[in-house]
């Protein structure tokens, strides 16, 4: 059923937009592509890459969030809140502003570096003396790191007023403007991450139990944690390099998935992939129609949708999973 949702959203994303295209144009574009028709052109060269980016980024962020929530046993963990997206964004902005190219492939290393740096900062800051990490403190550390990165990026924007437009793009998030040729080089990364996740599901299931039980079962928690952390960095970094800062997907989707499919990672992770993709597609479609004829950055849409849910989650009795 979720698959159906994803498919419908995908089709809608292809069909709707500022330039009105008819449904049969959509079908024809996919089957009998005619380069001379404006409708076909728009569908295949603009909306298709856009929808694909949305699917990939949405899925990555959702899985990333699920992993983080399982790893830290913190219901509020997600790449956006814990500063990982912000760290990746800051490094991407710096390299895009000062080191020429804007191609995701060359920015990806900056994104990884940024994500890893932010992750370690948050991890270290979130520890209380003695007892390890507390959920609240980790979230606060994440917020502090996010604020740090965003204020540096905003500062760059003020110093470099000529580069204003492109920096706003990164800060606000957008899935449009990426051609399919920038996606292909990143596909191996996404597929690799998916593979690693598939392999890790059993370990992750064990990890979400109590610490003592985990130790008793003899699992090498450190290695699993590290691998999962690496996957998070890769997925988040790639997403940021492609689409800028898009928040809340990593937060909301795992909760929805858990409500529908339970905690078993063998079901949870694929569910997150699908729901994340659908959510971002829907947000992107909505972003096209809020203030016509201009578009709202999709990061703003997800934030507007996600903030109320965050507030609800925050005011619950307990923040641990």
């Amino acid at each position: 059923m979720t698959l159906l949702l994803v498919l419908i959203s995908f089709v809608c994303s292809l069909a709707l937009g500022q330039f009105s295209t008819s449904p049969d144009a959509l079908v024809l574009a996919l089957i009998a592509y005619d380069p001379a028709s404006t409708s076909h052109l728009i569908i295949m060269t603009e909306r298709l890459p856009r929808a694909m980016v949305a699917v990939l980024v949405g899925a990555s962020l959702a899985v990333s969030g699920a992993l983080m929530q399982s790893l830290t046993r913190n219901a509020l963990a997600s790449p956006g809140i814990l500063g990982i997206n912000a760290g990746a964004m800051l490094f991407v902005v710096i390299s895009a502003a000062y080191f020429t190219e804007n191609v995701p492939l060359s920015l990806i290393w900056a994104a990884f570096l940024g994500a890893a740096t932010a992750a370690s900062m948050v991890f270290l800051l979130g520890r209380e003396r003695g007892s390890g990490s507390s959920p609240l403190r980790t979230v606060l550390a994440g917020v502090a790191v996010t604020a740090l990165c965003v204020s540096f990026a905003q500062g760059l924007l003020v110093v470099n007023q000529e580069r204003f437009g492109s920096l706003v793009f990164w800060l606000a998030g957008s899935v449009s403007g990426r051609g399919l040729d920038s996606l292909w080089p990143l596909m191996p990364l996404f597929l690799g991450a998916a593979l690693v996740c598939a392999l890790l599901t059993r370990q992750l299931n064990i990890l979400s139990l109590d610490d003592d039980v985990v130790r008793a079962l003899g699992q090498r928690t450190g290695l699993v944690r590290l691998t999962a952390g690496l996957v998070v960095v890769v997925l988040s970094g790639a997403s940021v390099a492609l689409a800028g800062m898009i928040g809340f997907i990593g937060l909301i989707v795992p909760h929805i998935a858990r409500a529908l499919f339970g905690r078993d990672h063998r079901w949870l992770l694929p569910a997150c992939t699908l729901i994340g993709a659908a959510l971002l597609l829907i947000a992107d479609i909505a972003a096209r129609f809020v203030i016509p004829p201009e578009e709202v950055p999709v990061g703003v849409m997800t934030a507007l949708l996600g903030a109320p849910l965050f507030l609800y989650l925050a005011s619950r009795k307990s923040q641990s999973l």
Binding site: P35, L41, T45, S166, P293
Partner: protein, 308 residues
């Protein structure tokens, strides 16, 4: 188009509105001028002044190439958005020219330093020229310059009409590539000059407002017109990337203007950033050359014109 300008005079210690005539006759005309935005700098130079302090230009820093020949001893005051107040004070100016959108905040401070004129808007260079002319006591020169401009405009329109016949007036779009998006201008410096010259705009661009920001290439068809003039600041790599991606897109190739080979790149400084009388005339020069019109005009009427 309603042309609206406001003048705010403030002398140290008092904030009263005076007419230009009274001040011009009671005090010697200001010589040390500080201009706090690009259009003011351009217009001041057009009136024959060399300001003692100007703000940096947006590109070709610290000052656009076309204005540099006129500057010998000018002081740069930093960015237009945050000019350096201390340097302004130390320059001991007789007149400071600012703009409401950017300098409203500091106008009380500026008034303490020197008489300050705050222009209400940026894009109407003719109103700006008159404003500055009155402020510096060169109203006659300003009138002359505007008369010259009018003659050139009339000449251009006549020549275009006779050249293009039915094809006149021509529908044109003004586009800029900026950052990851492109924008169509509905108003602004270039658009208003083109409107004055008689060019029209496509039906889809009849809205009010400054223009529109296009983030998706889906909207490329909205740019279509008989001719498209575009500009960009190519020192920014993301702008160049956007330019390549958009112009290589099939939708761009399908524009009527593209098929008729009527898409032209023009100079960003003249068309967008300069904002004054000299820039306007250079824009007109570019158009004359572009449409291969003879720029020479009937000699009799243009004797006093500085642009001949």
């Amino acid at each position: 188009m309603v042309l609206f300008t406001g003048i705010v005079w403030a002398t140290p210690g008092s904030a009263s509105e005076q007419t230009a005539q009274t001040s011009a006759s009671s005090q010697p005309p200001p010589e040390r001028i500080v201009t706090l935005f690009q259009g003011a700098t351009d217009n001041a130079v057009a009136l024959g002044l060399e300001p003692v302090g100007v703000v940096e230009s947006w590109t070709e820093q610290p000052m656009y190439h076309y204005l540099r020949p006129y500057f010998h001893q000018v002081n740069y005051l930093g960015l237009e958005t945050q000019p350096d107040l201390e340097t302004i004070a130390l320059l001991k100016p007789d007149l400071i020219i600012g703009e409401r959108g950017r300098h409203q905040l500091i106008s009380p401070l500026l008034s303490r330093i020197a008489p300050t004129v705050i222009a209400e808007q940026l894009y109407d260079f003719k109103a700006l020229l008159k404003l500055i002319g009155e402020a510096v006591g060169r109203e006659i020169k300003a009138e002359q310059l505007l008369a010259c401009w009018q003659l050139r405009v009339t000449d251009f329109r006549e020549k275009m009409a006779s050249r293009s016949g039915d094809g006149w007036p021509q529908e044109v779009s003004v586009i800029r590539f900026r950052g990851p998006s492109a924008r169509i201008y509905y108003s602004g410096f270039a658009r208003s000059v083109l409107d004055e010259l008689g060019f029209t705009r496509p039906a889809s661009q009849q809205n009010s407002g400054w223009g529109i920001n296009l983030t998706s290439r889906e909207s490329i068809p909205a740019m279509d017109a008989d001719a498209i003039f575009f500009f960009m600041v190519d020192s920014d790599p993301s702008v160049m990337e956007t330019y390549h991606k958009w112009t290589q897109h099939p939708l761009w190739q399908q524009l009527e203007a593209a098929q008729a080979k009527q898409i032209f790149r023009v100079d960003a400084v003249t068309w967008n950033l300069g904002g004054g009388y000299i820039a306007a005339n250079k824009l007109l020069d570019e158009l004359y050359a572009h449409y291969t019109l003879d720029p020479r005009k009937p000699a009799a009427s243009m004797k006093d014109c500085c642009q001949c």
